[in-house]
Symmetry: D2
Subunit: 337 residues, 4 copies
């Protein structure tokens, strides 16, 4: 159950509610986020919601049968919108493109990408400065210095930054330079990282685990939310299957399923989802039609020279065509809503 | 290698070519289809194509590095179109909807479905009369009598029939009553069935195996083609993964990958691909945008009373909206080609 | 529910039972096998078993909550033993080795293999005469002539034959020459084939599907049993997963799980299960310890010259060591029972 | 390539080698571990090993074609043995049992487990004090206080401790109280954690990822080794597949494959690998026969009251039988070596 508390609830009122929950053997978890204070009650007993709902200090009470609670659409029917300022928003009713290179590579590359994005009316740039790599001998990214340089250039152009955070100790140093922290597919169940990101007031986008279930992704989001941060975005990026003709298997089924289960925005990453440059466009279009609130795309002025993931990275010129098509597809879909 | 022979090639000319292939250690497979006669050469040696290409009786010769040959787009760049008469065609440039109940259930249901389809300008009706069921105690379909009844009613309305054939002995009795034989996901590698369907002059649609690879699907098509039947359609219907939130994982990556690899039409089956009624529409739309040449849909006037698969079957009224949207999505996509 | 009928039950007694079942909304399936006659009742209602059990003509009645019935150990606690004559048996308490080449290749190879097996006290020889191959251009086996030759040589030496049957039309011609029909992993859900094998009085070994679940394997066995043939063996042969370091993923979990769920013998096929010659022995030993009633092994005098599957085929000399170890491992395990 | 440097190599000698490597376009990674100093050269060029091998300061040089280097058996043929003191060793030629509860639960439970282990001659106790849980509302373990208590009791009895470390910040506080750090399946690719564990002089056991490949596990070990810590153990604990009859699919194929690829000890975890109490024993025995250097087992005096994983946890009495059998199986296997 989720109990939304009044802002001016007194300690004794709160304690009375917690006691009441104990009496029906529900454990209370108090959650304070940017938007409010909640008691999440975990228990199994069936009870009469009215007995609790009338207690002083309670704004609202919902029974949520899902195992995840605060991220469930059963509790919060209205879609959550992540506001990044200057009319840049992520969530239902917006169509978001996040684009950029796999790895941030240096000033020249950043400048070219920013110009390309601004020209195409795209306001969120992706790029890795900390790169998780299977082999310890591979390039691991430019790190914080790269991020600072990127931030300086992006800020001028009004471009927001989304980039991966790999460990707790990076959260704070990155704070001033990112607009959205990205949790990568290998860290979807790095619960300490999620916990700490719950204590930060910056949006967090969580990618689905390499072989993560849809429910596990929602649980991971619940970690962040229940630790205090409601500003969450989910991302489907393909799962691991037996098929080797594509890098991953983009599971677009996850899009409508997630959209029904949660109020959080859902983004698709067709670049990782298929891993083949020529097929990023059809899979991005398919993502839109499946109901995604946006797409994340790997682009590069010279993909064949990209530091990483070149084979799935789209040329700027082709990307421009793609943006245009994505918007038209989104408009068509929106015209039916 | 694929050698297309002239229609009027003499036996001695043909033997000379076969001998030539033997001399470079290529095994010849002679293939006669509705459209032509081919020698498919299987071997590993590198050779000078001109040495063979000039031999009398040869119309055309291609080296095909794929392991499948006749279904490869490397040999035949132009898309194959399956003509079902009266302007009903399946293939690139057409948008096909095949719709109907999971199981054919009786006259009333057939009539209602036919009326619904004709009214909505849909000319291919799906339905099972032989049903593959995990349990021997489940309903296994109305069989041949059901097919005959269906055929009588469909013929009058100009509706074509696609239905599953489960074994070799059914091929002949079904022949007069089907327009497209469907090979189900459990029979994708039933090689005897494929072989025999190669000896029939009726279109065949092969569904991808439950955990079949894209290449295995192409090999299965090669079985039919190399046995003499070019009239082939492929169908992506979802694969088996660890995810249990959906019935299968619709692998839309397979659509652009197949469209590049083969000249055959590619259909998507979102009903089985996700297995949840409310999400069939978004996945059907996504299939169109991924580049499918059509979709196969389970519909029913009263899904909750359907003999099988009711949970993934769409109501007629909702289906009508879906057809409309699918056509608009297809038009939009087509406007960019 | 499973009702075992008396041998001398009268038609009217049987009809009374069927009527009784109808009255509690259970569908009756009459099953006649080599060992007895059963009514398998399929329904959902809860009922008092004593009300039915006392009816005349009933030998025994069991409620089986599993979806498969006749193959369930809930009904038949004693393990089923397949008797192949001359003290050759497959089932709990026996340790069975089935060994031979992937494909039957000709007289010389057959003779060598038979000598090797007899010398090592192994009485079941495997080998394919009908080979399911992904590509239509691959070697598809020597067919019936190969089987006849093999049978002639094996009979003399007292060796039994297990070989794959791929389609219904092969069942009869093969009948006189096989001791166990094998259903391959691509045909586990070829329900027509299973149905027809249920009408034959010869043992049938069913391999688990390439991505088949344990329950699906039991259902497939139920097909054969419910069509009249109790002489069934199951075989775990590895499943398809994302891991590419081995050909398949031998799922030894399936061994104890199957042994608990069913009274049928369970064999493991480590050759296909790992697909790497050097590791067949450890996986065969592991299969024994997991509780398998035997193993199926690919062996060849010269694996590098084998027509197929050479990379996973063991040399005779190494096989001899392996048999010895397998027997000792089985003895150790048996000493604890 | 791996170059083992002499202990007394001078800086200028080392620089000369690095320069030489640069000249053939190999990147040098200097690695200092407990046992030695290495230069790991990463590059693609083919070169004459003798040209480098003769350089002063080099003890040994090996070309390792695997993508992982220092953990490869191509370089170090002799198995690595992890010495925990007092004749407690993990590695080839030893048979190791690590047993204990899923979660450390309190003094009483610790005492009972320690007594049970010591009595059965088992010297490594497992147990979680930091528990990764899908849901943020689940019990997350007793934390450092629990570990300290456990350590105090275990030390007296001569029992070693293996327990999971979930994040970098826990490494140091845990240091005095653990004998083996365990990296859990959700952290196999938590590269920062691996990096930091490479800077610690305590053994580390890495579990295979939930859907990790065998190669990814080796890469993860390479992370730790290349950061300076050679004391590594690998653990197969089951992978995620479509099969739902077991919790995970214990991939015993991985055991012989890993044993061939790496010199590191390989442990199997049948408790997580199958997830069903009654089947832990057969799968543990199978693990031994597949070649595992030991097993990790969940045991509890009262599994039905365990804080977590009770359904896969074995009773003490049954565990005693199992240890005995495991040792006998290991002896039998060892008698053949």
């Amino acid at each position: 159950m989720i109990i939304q508390l009044n802002k001016d609830i007194s300690e004794s009122q709160k304690n009375a509610i917690i006691k009441k929950l104990e009496s029906i053997r529900y454990k209370s978890n108090e959650v304070r986020t940017q938007a409010g204070t909640y008691l999440v009650g975990i228990g199994k007993a069936v009870f009469d919601i009215r007995e609790i709902g009338h207690m002083p200090g309670i704004n609202d009470i919902h029974i949520v049968s899902d195992h995840y609670k605060l991220v469930s659409r059963k509790w919060k029917v209205n879609p959550s919108i992540i506001d990044l300022g200057d009319d840049v928003r992520v969530g239902e009713g917006q169509f978001t493109v996040m684009a950029g290179p796999c790895s941030i590579e240096g000033e020249e590359n950043i400048r070219l990408t920013i110009d390309h994005l601004a020209k195409n009316n795209i306001w969120i740039m992706r790029g890795g400065v900390y790169k998780p790599r299977s082999s310890p001998y591979s390039f691991r990214g430019l790190g914080l210095d790269g991020l600072k340089l990127w931030h300086k250039l992006a800020r001028k152009a009004g471009i927001r930054i989304i980039t991966e955070v790999m460990q707790v100790s990076q959260i704070e140093p990155m704070y001033d330079y990112v607009d959205i922290y990205q949790v990568g597919a290998r860290n979807t169940q790095n619960f300490n990282l999620l916990d700490e990101l719950g204590r930060v007031d910056k949006p967090v986008m969580i990618k689905r685990g390499i072989s993560g279930t849809i429910d596990e992704l929602l649980y991971s989001a619940e970690y962040v939310f229940s630790a205090g941060n409601e500003k969450l975005i989910l991302c489907e990026r393909g799962i691991r299957t037996y098929e080797t003709a594509s890098r991953n298997t983009l599971d677009l089924n996850a899009i409508p399923i997630l959209k029904e289960k949660t109020h959080l925005p859902v983004i698709a990453d067709p670049s990782h989802g298929i891993g083949i440059r020529d097929f990023v466009e059809p899979m991005a279009l398919a993502s839109v039609m499946a109901g995604a609130d946006g797409v994340m795309l790997e682009i590069h002025p010279e993909p064949e020279k990209a530091f990483s993931d070149g084979q799935q990275t789209v040329y700027f010129r082709e990307a421009e065509n793609m943006y245009e098509k994505l918007r038209k597809a989104y408009e068509l879909l929106n015209s039916w809503r």
